[in-house]
């Protein structure tokens, strides 16, 4: 036993920061010159940036800056007219929802998009759908993989339920849950897919301080424990600056700045945009 010599109590902050840096790896996803138009309106205008493996990347910007549209392009819900998305060695122009899902891109939504008629457990189980392979007959008669998969994935889902501390609402229909818990269930559903890249669209919108703290903790834990890369849209600047490794700032659909929290904080264009200097 090596004893008293190394018994410094508490955590050494530098060790943690170093570990974080070590965890961030190569580029996982690169958005290349994306332009998205609705009718004549350009929601996104030639934006490029990348997301590295293991990092927490935030997309910030004023309302209507095209942040949600950006996430929608990344996971294929919107198909941009121009540009392409390079992801894990392949170029997609555009990305399709099914490509995104099968490649491990999961997301949560700004306005909660849970399956209201189902329980918490079932909602999270839907996140496992791509991993279930039982045939129709096996499901219909609940034998073979039809049964074994249900149990196997239930175990996985229970881990998530435990992780998110939502044991007590396991069998409650999600429609009856308060807002903060619904957000948590939605995160659980996304996690159930064991995503490589997790897109979080305003995970803390409408939450009180305590709920925000909980959610921040979950996001950090997800990033650290599962090594999940996270792309985050959030309005609370304090949260963003604390959580993110790097930020992308969008304004009126264009890229305004890209860099570490410190760099972005000092960027004049960003300060102008946030202070509402008139555009012309």
């Amino acid at each position: 036993m090596n004893t008293t010599a190394q018994m410094a109590s508490g955590q050494d902050p530098t060790t943690g920061a170093q570990e974080r840096k070590d965890r961030i790896g190569d580029v996982l996803l690169r958005v290349e010159n994306i332009t998205l138009r609705f009718g004549g309106v350009k929601a996104i205008n030639g934006v490029s940036f990348d997301i590295r493996k293991g990092e927490v990347r935030s997309i910030i910007g004023p309302n209507g800056a095209g942040k949600s549209s950006m996430l929608n392009c990344i996971n294929g819900f919107y198909q941009p007219q121009e540009g392409s998305i390079w992801y894990n060695g392949k170029t997609y122009s555009p990305m399709r929802p099914h490509d995104a899902a099968t490649n491990g891109i999961a997301r949560t939504f700004q306005n909660i998009a849970l399956f209201k008629g189902m329980s918490t457990l079932d909602n999270i189980m839907t996140g496992r759908i791509l991993k279930q392979k039982a045939s129709l007959i096996e499901q219909a008669f609940y034998f073979g993989r039809g049964k074994s998969e249900e149990i196997e994935h239930r175990e996985f889902v229970e881990d998530i339920i435990d992780f998110l501390e939502i044991q007590a609402i396991r069998k409650t229909p999600v429609g009856r849950l308060p807002y903060g818990l619904q957000k948590r269930v939605e995160l659980g559903r996304a996690l159930a897919a064991e995503p490589t890249l997790l897109l979080l669209d305003e995970p803390m919108a409408g939450m009180n301080l305590e709920e925000k703290e909980d959610m921040s903790r979950f996001i950090i834990d997800v990033n650290e424990h599962f090594g999940t890369t996270i792309a985050l849209i959030e309005h609370d600047m304090g949260v963003v600056m604390d959580l993110s490794d790097r930020l992308v700032v969008l304004d009126y659909g264009s890229l305004l700045a890209d860099g570490t929290p410190e760099e972005v904080r000092g960027n004049q264009a960003v300060i102008d945009a946030y202070l509402g200097v008139a555009h012309d």
């Binding site: 949600s68 929608n72 700004q110 998009a113």
Partner: protein, 314 residues
């Protein structure tokens, strides 16, 4: 097997025969349009897909005939029947719409199916279920356009329908309520700012739809007699709506005409063509022509001819 045209002893490729079929079809289409018009009014104002519109036609006609049989003068019958429709609007608003406000549209849709069933039973309970001939003095002679034989009552219906559409257009354009109804179709809040409670708007719009139903019921009743089968015919208004778009009054008219003419023409010419390859083909495609046409539209142009495109956002 002989074709319908040969049975009738005419040459199907005779121009006048074609005109006759086309006009007959268009006239049937006017009837569909009248029912569809009621649907559109309600849908525009409240996003309720009123499945009961067809039954309202029957119900209105039953009331009208019932009053007429009591020996009441025609004009008074009309007013009485209209009164019943307004009363019905009140009841529907109070009992069905108000409790279901903010429910999914599909629930309201199913509720109107409930209304349809209820009214069917209720109407026949009041007035009996036998077929009732209806004669309000609409001429039912025929006249000839060139060599094509045209029913006078068809022409009459066309005229009435035209008048009705113009009247509605004026109502929507030049009255305060009409403008409110148009506003509510776009934005419920806007309608409130005009100062008319939503509940009143519903009652008014259902009453207007009731009025349209009454007119349609009298037209159809004069032609076919007032009977249960009216509701089945009224189902044809559904494909009309798909073609015309749910929110478009002109769409309802044009859709009705296309379907009316299309099903009559296809019954003659399409069946004829098929029977030349497959003689045992029995025809009667009129039963489904409208629906399959609508289906084709749904797959290739879901918003209909005049409807607006729907964009989904997350």
């Amino acid at each position: 097997m002989e074709t319908i045209a040969t049975l009738l002893g005419v040459d199907p490729f005779d121009l006048w025969f074609f005109v006759e079929v086309l006009v007959g079809g268009l006239m049937a289409g006017v009837m569909y349009s009248l029912v569809a018009l009621g649907f559109v009014l309600i849908f525009k104002a409240s996003s309720v897909f009123n499945f009961a519109q067809g039954v309202m036609v029957l119900f209105a006609a039953l009331n009208f005939v019932g009053f007429l049989d009591m020996g009441i003068p025609v004009w008074l019958c009309f007013i009485l029947a209209m009164g019943v429709m307004v009363l019905l609007s009140f009841v529907i608003e109070r009992v069905v719409l108000r409790p279901l406000v903010n429910q999914p549209h599909i629930s309201l849709f199913m509720a109107t199916i409930g209304i349809a069933i209820f009214l069917e039973g209720f109407g026949e309970m009041l007035w009996g279920s036998s077929i009732k001939p209806l004669d309000v003095g609409i001429p039912d002679d025929v006249f000839f356009l060139g060599e094509a034989m045209i029913q006078q009552n068809d022409m009459f219906a066309a005229v009435v329908a035209s008048v009705l559409v113009i009247a509605l257009a004026l109502f929507f354009h030049y009255t305060r309520i009409g403008r409110a109804l148009r506003a509510v179709a776009d934005d419920h809040q806007a309608a409130l700012s005009i100062g008319i409670p939503l509940n009143h708007i519903w009652i008014i719009v259902w009453s207007v739809a009731g009025f349209v139903a009454l007119v349609a019921g009298i037209m159809w009743g004069s032609k076919l007699g007032v009977q249960f089968s009216l509701t089945v015919l009224a189902l044809k208004a559904l494909p009309v709506l798909i073609l015309g778009g749910f929110t478009s009054i002109p769409g309802a008219i044009v859709g009705g005409l296309i379907i009316g003419a299309g099903e009559k023409l296809s019954e003659i010419y399409l069946v004829d063509a098929i029977q030349s390859f497959y003689p045992s083909f029995s025809g009667a495609i009129e039963e489904w022509f409208a629906y399959i046409l609508a289906l084709a539209f749904l797959v290739f142009r879901p918003q209909g001819l005049f409807g607006e495109k729907i964009i989904e956002r997350v």
